[in-house]
């Protein structure tokens, strides 16, 4: 193992902001900042009380817009996956996060922050599965 491309300071600052966003939503609205949960509810037949959820998702996109307007580095964004891989990955992420009731935000940030056993186990499982997929893909590509 070699360490490459490590950017500890922006990572830490970004992480502190992400945690603060979760704290803000809990303090003001009493809600978990679980993005797959919010997204899933917005795509459900029950639209009652979805106003804040839709605006949260709009805010997520606006956060990227603000970053780009501030001159943030967006040129470095590299998407290696092919179209077929993107479609397969999107289906897996959409289906999997609904089946498993959460993703990196709800189970990862909020769940582990609350010392929830479900959050911790979910996080270990998705990081493990992701690492296996990367290992297999990069081993095959290098073979």
């Amino acid at each position: 193992m070699t360490i490459v491309d490590f950017t500890p300071l922006p990572a830490l600052i970004g992480g502190l902001l992400i945690g603060s966003a979760g704290v803000l939503l809990l303090w003001l609205n009493g809600r978990m900042a679980g993005i797959s949960g919010i997204f899933g509810r917005v795509l459900s037949t029950d639209q009652s009380g979805n106003g804040w959820r839709i605006l949260f998702l709009v805010g997520l996109v606006l956060g990227g817009v603000v970053w780009a307007l501030m001159g943030g580095d967006t040129g470095a964004i590299t998407i290696e996956a092919s179209t077929v891989e993107l479609v397969g990955a999107g289906l897996l992420v959409g289906f999997g996060t609904q089946l498993g009731s959460g993703c990196t935000s709800g189970h990862g940030v909020c769940g582990i922050g609350r010392l929830s056993p479900r959050g911790l186990v979910s996080t270990l499982c998705y990081i493990g599965a992701g690492a296996i997929v990367i290992f297999v893909m990069r081993t095959m590509a290098g073979a």
């Binding site: 360490i3 491309d5 490590f6 993005i35 470095a76 990955a89 992420v93 959409g94 996060t97 189970h107």
Partner: protein, 139 residues
């Protein structure tokens, strides 16, 4: 009104945090998952920072009787580990490794106008709806 604006504000801050952290770049996420090759530990610092802030904030906030807006805190109460939790996390993780996108960065990433992000986002929405039509509880 307060509830809606709070949602917008929290989403905005979350999106800026994802952008600054570099997690909007799928290559960085895939670099973190490449433990046995060229490893980029940045995601661990993002997670560490976010979890630390949330852990402290959660403890302080939950001492109050109710949130500023709204009547109650809506916090998950389950602590059981079932097959859905684990199976769902494994499927999600496989997709996460395949493209380097989880839901947050895929949504914030729409701001940068890359075609691949829109393809992933559309497939993710289809995956969510597919779950609701097949295995989702009636709601």
């Amino acid at each position: 009104m307060g509830i809606k604006l709070s949602g917008l504000l929290a989403g905005l801050l979350f999106g800026i945090g994802l952008s600054i952290s570099g997690m909007i770049n799928p290559a960085k996420v895939m670099g973190f998952l490449d433990f046995f090759g060229q490893w980029d530990p940045s995601l661990a610092f993002v997670m560490g920072g976010a979890v630390t802030v949330y852990a402290i904030g959660y403890r302080l906030i939950m001492k109050s009787a109710k949130p500023i807006f709204g009547e109650t805190f809506q916090v998950p109460t389950r602590s059981d580990l079932d097959a859905r939790l684990i199976g769902g996390a494994v499927l999600f993780g496989a997709g996460w490794g395949l493209a380097g996108y989880c839901p947050g960065p895929a949504i914030t990433g729409l701001a940068f106008g890359m075609e691949q992000t829109f393809i992933f986002f559309a497939a993710m929405a289809v995956g969510v709806v597919a779950f609701k039509l097949t295995m989702g509880a009636k709601s």
